[in-house]
Symmetry: C2
Subunit: 433 residues, 2 copies
């Protein structure tokens, strides 16, 4: 292969980093042929030099991250250490020293996208991040290039494998949340501290990146309405089944009629007939609806060392191709400034579950509350609550047509205040019906 | 928007062309913001100027294709007339006059890819073709960029909506092929002359393009083993159901252990649990298996004016961005020269159906024939053939483990020659089990 090697610095030697190093070292000839120039891995930053790292050449390991990214002649820095600090600083330093950057850091991009893309443009380098959203699933290029001539209306995805695994277990085996979480932790699908996954922080960062790409408007992670799965009860799962639905943690980015956008992460009931409903275990999937293209779906492994490394090395090859030709890739311009709609203005369908006294007139009363809040009910089911003998209570399940969240919340508050309602009124959004 | 407009010439004002023109004309401001420069549609080539074309400005219409592509200052030519001649000549002329080209012409690319990509490189212009494979589904960029750091092992897709619609009807409603075809024609899903679809020519061209991208080896359409769906019988559909499968027309590109590649289009049984099995109607889907990324699937509308136009305009924006920055996009280098394996060397699983005399020893005899050809049988089912009373015949259904096609064909020939076999022995490949 002709040409000087392109020099690559790798920040992070963990699950993903070690797989990235393996791909670069084992497939060097193929990658060189695809790029037009060879790659040279010049250093791998790790936290602890003493830990054994099979497959990683000891001569490449270093703890000096700043030294690596500012070393003379580094062409591309790959950032896989995660978090805001020191990742942000290292990326900015690498760029200001002329290196292009590949990162999988969704939290950083969702928090500091403007600064980072601005710095890349200023330095005349690339900043690529396919691995930051949905692991190995190609979604950044499809949104920013393949669909760039279209008007994207909805992006809706299962973008967190941990929560999908837990909800799957609750659905398939009737487990409660806590039992499913512990099993996921035992199998390595959930972290010891599962907060980032189960509270939806990880999904919210991805939702922000997806919304930014789809709507040409920079959306930050902290602008995303976020609800996790810790409150999902076995009754919700069973009720979903009765509706022909499954419960999924969805990341939703939607263009609203008034030009605002809704960006949110929350559990939702999804009809079994929807392509997202059949996404199992640690798989991820992203559903896209565009004015001309229609309905598309992208499915694949959303996490894991090798799949994430595949996306990182795909970016590495693309960035290296650009660099060897002396160009940078296109950047999705953020020329729109759609407002992120407050959650109260969002419309969707709702499933509402409440326990009432089983006596004449109660259904009429409940229906009246919905009507007062201008919420149209599509379907009502009433079942005995199945409590102790002589228990005169019943469960009501209601499915609404599209309603505004603010109206629904007021309706629920009114229901809660009604003397005939015996327990906390629960609701869940229904998407894709 | 700053900068001179980029001048676009459109060849073709039919179903796709008119949608492309509509997107360019109606979404000019958005496209300009995404590109960084405005687009100007300077001409639309049609065959017949007298046909009314609502939405297309009469002042842009022309019948002079050569005049348009060689006009001074054309930046991008969009070729949507299809076929080899005169499309090839017009594309080459456009390039030699300095224009980049966007095309949806799978037949041309599969036949003349080497010449066309060579000419683009020689002229220093782009040749983009996302719309040529699977309509609106982004697959060219995912294979040539997102997954370019990985080793792709299998690409397997439903890439022809017409045949998928017909097979779906045969499956869901028990129709025979001819009835389903006529219905597809009535609904506009099949052409009056359906040959290109039902004989697999369209799918074979797409298989060639997918294999070329996946394996970095130029594969031509005429190197693809091709069988259409005209021979699929209701009995095959029913037998598939008995196996927990559906019949699909698959385009398969597989890297074999010996470094050869198998590229083929044929009907196959696919297990209901496989993601491709649930692809309905005129939808397309492409399943990809890569060493690091694992199993991915891309799903969406495979044809139609608006979806195909979405892919064309996505390419148009990408090419226009390149042009406004004075660069060309990366081209997937064809640095490998994997041989296309002869069909006889391909291994897969097979379903074999035969009618035999219902008498003791016949099953042992049949099993012996398979054993003689070193084909391991996983499952045998025997059912009365359900003919006239006193008819002493039975249907045998056999599912094999992986076997070499040449062995299977010899086995079938031997079975056919057996005096106990009463009718034509039928077989169908089984993929994804």
């Amino acid at each position: 292969m002709d040409g000087e090697p392109l020099r690559v610095g790798l920040l992070g030697g963990g699950t993903v980093g070690s797989q990235v190093a393996r791909l670069i070292l084992e497939h060097g000839d193929d990658l060189a042929a695809r790029i037009g120039r060879p790659l040279e891995l010049v250093g791998i930053v790790v936290r602890n030099l003493d830990r054994p790292r099979p497959g990683l050449p000891a001569s490449l390991l270093t703890t000096d991250a700043e030294g690596l990214v500012t070393r003379e002649g580094i062409d591309i820095a790959i950032e896989l250490i995660g978090g805001i600090d020191p990742a942000q600083d290292l990326i900015l330093k690498a760029m200001s020293h002329g290196a292009s950057v590949v990162t999988a850091n969704k939290a950083l991009l969702a928090a500091k996208g403007d600064e980072l893309f601005g710095a890349a443009q200023h330095a005349g380098v690339d900043l690529y991040y396919e691995a930051a959203v949905a692991g190995a699933i190609p979604i950044v290029r499809p949104l920013s290039e393949s669909l760039v001539g279209d008007e994207i209306q909805v992006v809706m995805g299962i973008v967190n494998g941990t929560t999908n695994y837990i909800l799957d277990k609750m659905t398939a085996e009737g487990m409660d949340y806590q039992t499913a979480l512990v099993q996921a932790q035992d199998l390595g699908y959930a972290e010891a501290d599962p907060t980032a996954d189960v509270e939806g922080h990880d999904a919210a960062a991805k939702a922000a990146l997806l919304a930014s790409l789809a709507f040409h408007t920079r959306v930050r992670g902290d602008q995303v309405h976020r609800e996790g799965i810790t409150g999902v009860a076995p009754q919700d799962i069973r009720a979903a089944r009765g509706l022909g639905c499954v419960v999924k943690l969805l990341a939703v980015a939607k263009l609203l009629d008034d030009g605002q956008i809704s960006v949110r992460v929350h559990p939702a009931m999804v009809p079994n007939t929807h392509p997202l409903a059949s996404v199992k275990g640690a798989y991820n999937a992203i559903f896209v609806e565009a004015a001309a293209a229609g309905r598309l779906m992208f499915l694949g492994p959303g996490a894991g060392g090798a799949p994430t490394a595949s996306a990182v090395v795909g970016d590495l090859v693309t960035v290296a191709r650009n660099r060897s030709r002396g160009v940078v890739g296109p950047v999705q311009p953020m020329y729109n400034d759609h407002e992120v709609a407050p959650m109260g203005l969002v419309t969707t369908r709702y499933f509402v579950r409440l326990r009432v006294q089983d006596e004449p007139g109660v259904l009429a009363g409940v229906a009246g509350v919905f009507a007062r809040h201008h919420i149209s009910v599509q379907d009502v089911q009433q079942t005995p609550a199945g409590g102790k003998a002589g228990d005169a209570s019943a469960e009501l399940y209601l499915l609404t047509h599209e309603a505004k969240e603010a109206d629904l919340l007021e309706c629920v508050a009114d229901l809660q205040a009604s003397p005939q309602v015996q327990a906390a009124v629960r609701f869940m959004r229904v998407e894709g019906m």
